[in-house]
Amino acid sequence: MGRFAIGRIVHGVVVVFCVAIVVFATSRLVGDPVGVILPFEATHEQRAALRHQLGFDRPILEQFGEYITNLARGDFGTSLLQDRPTISIVLEHLPATFELVFAGIALAILIAVPLGVVAAVRPGSLVDRMSVSLSLLGLSVPEFFLGILLILFFAVELGVLPASGKGGIEHLILPALTLALPAVGRLTMIARSSMIDQLGQAYVQTAKAKGIPRWRVVGIHALRNALIPVLTLSGWELMRALAGYAVTVETVFAWPGVGYLAFQAVREQDVFLVQTIVLVVAVLVVFVNVGIDILYRVVDPRIKLG
C-alpha cells in the first residue's frame, strides 16, 4: 500500500507537470491577451508596457521556469480581468461542478446498472431490446443538444423546472440529467454485456446448484463480477464529465461551476485563469484515477495494489 501510494504520487506529479507544459505553451502561442485587456485605441507603447509588466517579453523558457517555481510555492498567478489569485476563483467554482458531476454520474449508474442487469437476465426480451435502443439513443445525442431539448420541454413548454442558474434541487435536475443520459447509454451497454458474460460462467452454475434464491445468484454472485468493467467505465465517465462535458452542460445551463468559468476565461483570454483551471482539472483526473484503482482492490481480491 505504501509503495502504491508513493508510485501514484510520483505518477500524478509527472502527469500534472506535462499538462503544465502543454497549457503554458498553448496559452503563450495562441492569441494575445494584451489585446483583450487594453482598449482597442491603446497605443503601441501602452501595449509594450503591459507586455513587459506581465513578463510576456522575456524568453519563453525563463517565463516557464518562473511559472513552475511559482506553482511549487502555491502561486497560480493572478487573473487578468478580476485582479485576484486565479486559484481562489477556481476553488470558489469547484463545489458547484462537483455537485453537478457527482449527481449526474451517480444518477447514470443508478439507472444503468439495474437496467443492464434486467436486460441481461432475459437477452432478446422486450425489456432487453428497449434498453439497447434507449442506450443507443442516449449515447448518440450530444450534451448541448440534449440540454437545449430538456430546457425547451421542461422549462419552456411545461414550465415545471428552471431553465438555468443555480439554486435549490430543482435547478440541479435538468443539468444533471443532461450529463447523465449519454452516460446511461454507455454504462447500460457495458453493464448488460458484462452481466450476460458473467451469467454464463461456471461459478453461476455452482451458485444455482447450491439452491440459493435466484436473486442472490444474479444480484450477488454475478453482479459483483459484472461490476468490474462498469467501475472502469464509471471512472472514465467521471473524468470525461469533469474535464469536458461539464463545460458544455454548465454553459448551456449557466451553471456557475468550473466548466462555465473555463468557457468565460477562454472567451476573455484570461490566460492565467485558463492555465489554473486546466491544471486543477488535471489534478482532479489524477485523483479520480487513484480512487478507481483503490475501488478495484475493494471489489476484486485478485488485484494487488503496488
Binding site: 461459478y203 440459493i212 454472485h221 476484486d300
Partner: protein, 328 residues
C-alpha cells in the same frame, strides 16, 4: 433393472427427455434415459462428450435453463416427482441440501470474488439457517474433512490463492456442507493432473463410506468407473446403450459401443493391450434418426439397426440396447 422390493431407490430417472431449442434446430440431448440409484450406492454414468450425461445430471437438479427444456419422462427423489408443480418447488429446497453436485472445472466453478468461508458458508446459512459465526466454524470442519491443510487459514482464502486440486476439494466441501444423500460428481477429475485425480477419487470414496451417501459419478473415463462404481450406465447419443454391474459390464461388454470404449481406454494391468479408437464421430443431435445412434460407427451393424433396439436382459439386472447384444 431389477426392481426387487428390498432395494428402495433414492433417485429414479425414468424415460427422461431433454431438448435444447436452438436457432439451428431442436437438439435432442437426452432421449429416454432410465436408471436409479439406491442409498449408499455408487453409479457410474459413462459416455463421451455430447452423449447427454452432463445434461442428465443437470436435469436431475432442475438446472436446465432455456433454451433447454425437459420434454418428457420423470425424475423422482425418494419416490416423489421433482418435475411436477409441487416438485419444481421441492427441488429448490433439496438442491444443495439433500442433492448436491460437484462440477467439472474447479478453476472456474468457484466465485473469484468471495472467500471460501463465505461461499461455502452461504449454503449453511441458506439451508440450515446458521448464523455467520457458526457457519464459518462449520466451514473450517468441512475443509478439514476434505483434506485441506490448515483449514482455519484457508477458509479466509480466495479461490485464486488455491491450487486446482484444493479448489476441487473446496467444491466438494461445499457440496457436502449440508450432508447430502446424493452427490453427483460431474467429471470431477477431468481438469486435474493425473496424480491429483487419484487423490480426489479416493477422497470421494472415503467420504462416501464415512457419510454413507450415494454417488452418481459422471465421467468419460472407464478406468475411473471400474475402480469405484457398483453399477454403470453407458450413454451414447442421448440414449442408454448398456447398464449393469460394473464387473459384468467391464468383463463382458454386451454392447459394441462399450466394447469399443474399453478397447480405446489405456490400461496398465495388461501389458499387451493395444489402444484402438472408435472410427467416426458422435452423431449430430439435431433430429437424430430413431434407430441405434451408434449404428453408423458400429463394426457389427446390420439392416435392423435402423429400428430402435429393445433392452435385452441378462442375469444380475444387466440390460443391453442392441440387436446383437452380447455378440462382441
Amino acid at each position: 433393472m431389477s426392481e426387487s422390493g428390498h432395494r428402495v431407490p433414492l433417485l429414479e430417472v425414468e424415460k427422461l427427455e431433454v431438448s435444447f431449442f436452438t436457432q439451428h434446430g431442436v437438439v435432442r440431448a437426452v432421449r429416454g434415459t432410465t436408471f436409479d440409484i439406491a442409498r449408499g450406492e455408487t453409479v457410474g454414468l459413462v459416455g463421451e462428450s455430447g452423449s447427454g450425461k452432463s445434461v442428465t445430471s443437470l436435469a436431475i437438479l432442475g438446472l436446465i435453463d432455456l433454451p433447454g427444456k425437459i420434454t418428457g419422462g420423470d425424475v423422482r427423489w425418494k419416490g416423489s416427482s421433482l418435475l411436477n408443480r409441487a416438485g419444481l418447488k421441492w427441488v429448490k429446497q433439496v438442491r444443495g441440501k439433500e442433492l448436491a453436485i460437484v462440477f467439472q472445472d474447479p478453476m472456474t466453478s468457484l466465485n473469484p470474488l468471495f472467500t471460501l468461508r463465505w461461499q461455502i458458508g452461504e449454503v449453511l446459512r441458506h439451508h440450515l439457517g446458521m448464523g455467520r459465526k457458526r457457519a464459518e466454524e462449520r466451514v473450517v470442519e468441512l475443509l478439514d474433512l476434505v483434506g485441506i491443510p490448515s483449514p482455519r487459514e484457508r477458509a479466509k482464502a480466495y479461490p485464486h490463492e488455491l491450487s486446482g486440486g484444493q479448489r476441487q476439494r473446496a467444491l466438494i466441501a461445499m457440496a457436502l456442507a449440508c450432508e447430502p444423500e446424493l452427490l453427483i460428481a460431474d467429471e470431477p477429475t477431468t481438469a486435474l493432473d493425473v496424480t491429483i485425480q487419484a487423490q480426489i477419487l479416493e477422497l470421494i470414496g472415503e467420504i462416501q463410506q464415512r457419510l454413507g451417501l450415494a454417488v452418481l459419478l459422471v465421467t468419460h473415463d472407464l478406468g475411473v468407473v471400474a475402480g469405484v462404481c457398483d453399477r454403470v450406465v453407458v450413454m451414447y447419443g442421448g440414449k442408454i446403450m448398456e447398464r449393469g454391474s460394473a464387473t459384468d459390464v467391464f468383463q463382458h461388454p454386451g454392447h459394441p459401443y462399450t466394447a469399443g470404449l474399453l478397447r480405446s481406454t489405456p490400461r496398465i494391468d495388461l501389458a499387451q493391450h493395444r489402444m484402438i479408437g472408435i472410427d467416426g464421430s458422435p452423431p449430430n443431435m439435431i433430429d437424430p434418426p430413431p434407430g441405434c445412434p451408434f449404428a453408423p460407427r458400429c463394426p457389427i451393424a446390420f439392416d435392423r439397426c435402423v429400428e430402435p433396439p429393445p433392452f435385452i436382459p441378462a442375469p444380475n439386472g444387466r440390460e443391453v440396447a442392441c440387436w446383437r447384444a452380447y455378440d462382441t
